[in-house]
Subunit: 659 residues, 2 copies
Amino acid sequence: MEVGFTTKRDLCWLKKPMQNKFSTFSVEDFKDTDAKIIHETLCMEISRLFPNAKEIFEAKAELIFAKSEDDLKEGFCISCFENHNVRILASEEIGYLHGLFALYEILAGERKVTIPYTSVPDQSIRMLNHWDNFDGSIERGYAGDSIFYDRNEFRGDYDLLTQYARLLCSVGINAVSINNVNVHHREAFFIEKPALMHIKKIAAIFSAYGIRLFLAINFAAPIIVGKLDSADPCDPQVKNWWTKVLDGIYEEIPQFGGLLVKADSEGEPGPFTYGRTHADGANMLASAIASHKGVIIWRCFVYNCRQSWKDRSLDRANAAYDLFSTLDGTFAENVILQIKNGPIDFQIREPVSPLFGALHKTNQILEFEITQEYTGHQIDQCYLLPMWKEVMDFDTRYEGISLVKDILREYSPSRKNSGIAAVVNVGMDENWTGNKLAQANLFGYGLLCWDNALSSEEIAERWVRLSFSLEEEDEKKMVDMLMTSRETYENYSCPLGVGFMCKPGIHYGVDVDGYEYDRWGTYHYADRNGVGRERSLATGTGYTRRYSDSRFREYEDVNTCPDELLLFMHHVSYDHVLHSGKTVIQHIYDTHFKGVETVEQYLAFIRTLEGKIEKAEFENILERAERQLAAAVEWRDTINTYFYRKSGIEDEQHRTVYA
Amino acid sequence: MEVGFTTKRDLCWLKKPMQNKFSTFSVEDFKDTDAKIIHETLCMEISRLFPNAKEIFEAKAELIFAKSEDDLKEGFCISCFENHNVRILASEEIGYLHGLFALYEILAGERKVTIPYTSVPDQSIRMLNHWDNFDGSIERGYAGDSIFYDRNEFRGDYDLLTQYARLLCSVGINAVSINNVNVHHREAFFIEKPALMHIKKIAAIFSAYGIRLFLAINFAAPIIVGKLDSADPCDPQVKNWWTKVLDGIYEEIPQFGGLLVKADSEGEPGPFTYGRTHADGANMLASAIASHKGVIIWRCFVYNCRQSWKDRSLDRANAAYDLFSTLDGTFAENVILQIKNGPIDFQIREPVSPLFGALHKTNQILEFEITQEYTGHQIDQCYLLPMWKEVMDFDTRYEGISLVKDILREYSPSRKNSGIAAVVNVGMDENWTGNKLAQANLFGYGLLCWDNALSSEEIAERWVRLSFSLEEEDEKKMVDMLMTSRETYENYSCPLGVGFMCKPGIHYGVDVDGYEYDRWGTYHYADRNGVGRERSLATGTGYTRRYSDSRFREYEDVNTCPDELLLFMHHVSYDHVLHSGKTVIQHIYDTHFKGVETVEQYLAFIRTLEGKIEKAEFENILERAERQLAAAVEWRDTINTYFYRKSGIEDEQHRTVYA
């Protein structure tokens, strides 16, 4: 490893020099052990964030941490600025740390709040999933190798991991799973002592910042690791084996969070092998972990990935709904279902998963993807907060609780076992995220999980202010760029919700038919007359019927279906007229030209930042933007040509569409 | 490595037990050192092929090897069966060995010849190119890992390599390059002592069977290995360096054949970097190797692999012709240009490269691909001899020497520096070639290079008789299967010469648009009206004009262009009527249905072979055939659907074409 690497690593949004300092600080002690570890961290963070404690803060300011009388959960209240002193109240000691980070942002001048300022997290679980492999690679990683592993060893860079934990805590993350949900052979053994000796060190670092560590497990571990004949969840031997394994884990890591499971999905083993249900599988593990108060997070990304494109009656979009909605109420209270935001797989535009609102008696986690698998590989900039906001604010139009963000909490029998998870976008790159601008997604994800009411724009502003020192005009331009970047990416890559026109395997760049004749269930069915997947109940796969009556009616009717989802829900002719007044084909041309034009504007703006931001950051952002433009041009020209060749309809504006 | 692996390895076509043996044999000694090595080999082979020398061959037969008074080159004459004795004449001792292998086949009863039987090779160089990497992988290898390398070490299995050399010698191969033409970093150092210590052992094994060893080199080796600033072929330092390197190689391997060079091709370095011509590059190396009588084999596979699909004026098919035809006569007498059989890249159907006949003053090697990169990965059976025969017998219709097989020899200023090379299909799989049936291609390649007059069918018959002990009817069916397999593969994968509708990168399986919007210059330009690449002089890229006047006229006119090359040469509408009387679209449907039907027949026949051939062979062939059928079905349905969606024209016979 490069010597001194960690000292050079970008500290991201915690690197602003502070203008104000405190003369003293005092902390009211909490009793339990975990809290004491956090207490130490807190003291260290105070001296880091406010390094010169001898200088005064407008006369002689003191920073006082005291126990709140209200239940603030992991949150805090910055209660007053009495005599210029600052008082931070919390119910749990981790709340002090969150309060401290909030105070830092306020005093750095990047944020204005009204005092007293109380902040309590909206979601209980605010998690990151690492898809890191033991060999150091990251599945869908675009920012270098894993920060945890290097060539089948634990990297052991604890300074780096401390920085990482600190960064995550500063935006409110409280749970991290550290290995890929596709658990390969070597990683299957993470549940055994030799690996746990390393993992416990990582867990301790995370604990100091209030973060629980989780492991993804291989459902066939009883066979692979335990040398049993079976992994049948209904076999008492199997449950026995898991109980011992979990006892062993908790012996080393008392604060261990639990297990994350991808079962019966894309080739992974699962209960189906034994003719059991997913409830059988999850509940067996839940029972084995229950005495330790751990949880089992069970992914709902289960579908037939060997289906035939020839059979239009099959629909991958129906799969998770059909499987898990029927199991509602059958899961143990420490099982949580983790549901991807959309019914397919992290496309730039999908409808919201119909499972939200369909489950009333099951703990739920909403899963996002911060790492830009389908959204530009951290080459193309794509600020994802607007998309995540849409999902969380989505009104399912069921009676009663109807917004996704409320459903998560309110329909989870155990409220503390609900929340949000996301596949993270960091790696060994010095700026954590490959593209500097992709930091905004990690930052924003944390903030949004904590405070669901924040706007995408407010988050973008806060990230820009913490990360750069720009004049107001440039700050505004950068925020505008972030705010439009999702629409821009959608414009040049995904017309009207059609999705999956990317290169197979790699998922970067355009290949309109790349998945069209394949086994993955993601088809656009473009022919010489029209394009789109018919998912209506009347003439399609009936996907629309998985929603509430109101949403069903909206999506079922081609005349009320929102434009941006039209080709996801319906197959229509190229001359079908959208609500926008444009035909489908003209919309395709227009959005693709517009997408590239916007990227050109981004690039022009970025070029003006030379000398205004750090050189390395400027070069990084510029280099990525140049590659984005090249990619966007290919998306535009390929998609336009593809549909021109199919439809034979000319662009009304006679721009260059290659034949 | 598995213990005893080499003893289990299939000996292929040299494993038949012999019915006849000799009482004694005598060999007339040759003088030079190389011949003595071969002499030893010869004696060993006699005892291997005719193990029980004490038993008599129709009374007391003797096997006599004597020097011929005619110039038989590497060939031989089985001059008589006097008193049941057998006399083999040769001019070079390697001829004895070839004569012995011929005798073995005759006595095994698998071949009938008229005595005296003289056989002299038609082509001087009969070469195999290994695309093996030092890490043990093989670029485009479908039969396991490399037989030479294993995880960046020399495998050192000399028994296996001896078997291999013997097998190659038995079909007349006399040259082998042992590393990938894409010379990666580690392999660039093969020209240095540490590697040469291993390579010389391989070379010695090959020499004993009359095979010269070649190395593929990296043109930038002076920089990578020599630490020079430049690899400029006109820099005296560079030439100096190469001279020393080659002196070093010949010091270790006096019988070293020479260098194989892929320059300025698909990302490989070359003379263009320094503004030099390919003649500059090749001649510099030729001069450096001249004192050792070595040769430089220079590949003509040079084209722009970063072109835009948007520019229809560019044509990769023109590239090799345009670059090398203008350099005719400028290459040193020990430079040989290696020219792929077609202008693109080893598709199942391409026109013959227009370079043949265009070069009159340049040594030439014709390059084939035995390894089934684009022809089914040794999963799908595809007996390639009919294709190779077409190329060698192709009449360029230039005046004078006009057949490709004659051009190779007659237009090479140094006749001994001409011939045929092919990328080989072997690996560590126990049957050498992954699919047992793919052995026929290696066997047939050797035979055809030696005797250009052999028919594909005769070669297939000889391979089937040597490899199996079948009843006549089954033998005939197997030969028929082999003989139709190329047409079958073409039927389901490549309509009318269009090519490259395969999955990018891997090159197995169907992806009609896989390369359509990419940078590789292989486009079919299918739209709602028609399909094909317009390469006429009148309205296309002018590729047709690269041929002789007669061929130009034939290809230029859509009415005289052969059906099988129509879409290679022209863009036509789907309802264009072929010489066959069918429309293009109906031809597509018909051939694709037929292709699958034929594979079904193959499979049915193969199932009847159970118990008639060795179990392992049966299972191998069956398993591959089942996978071939699945692949063929996907090719059929995808291509048919693709063109139905584009054209909107129904199959006249109303078979299932998915919408």
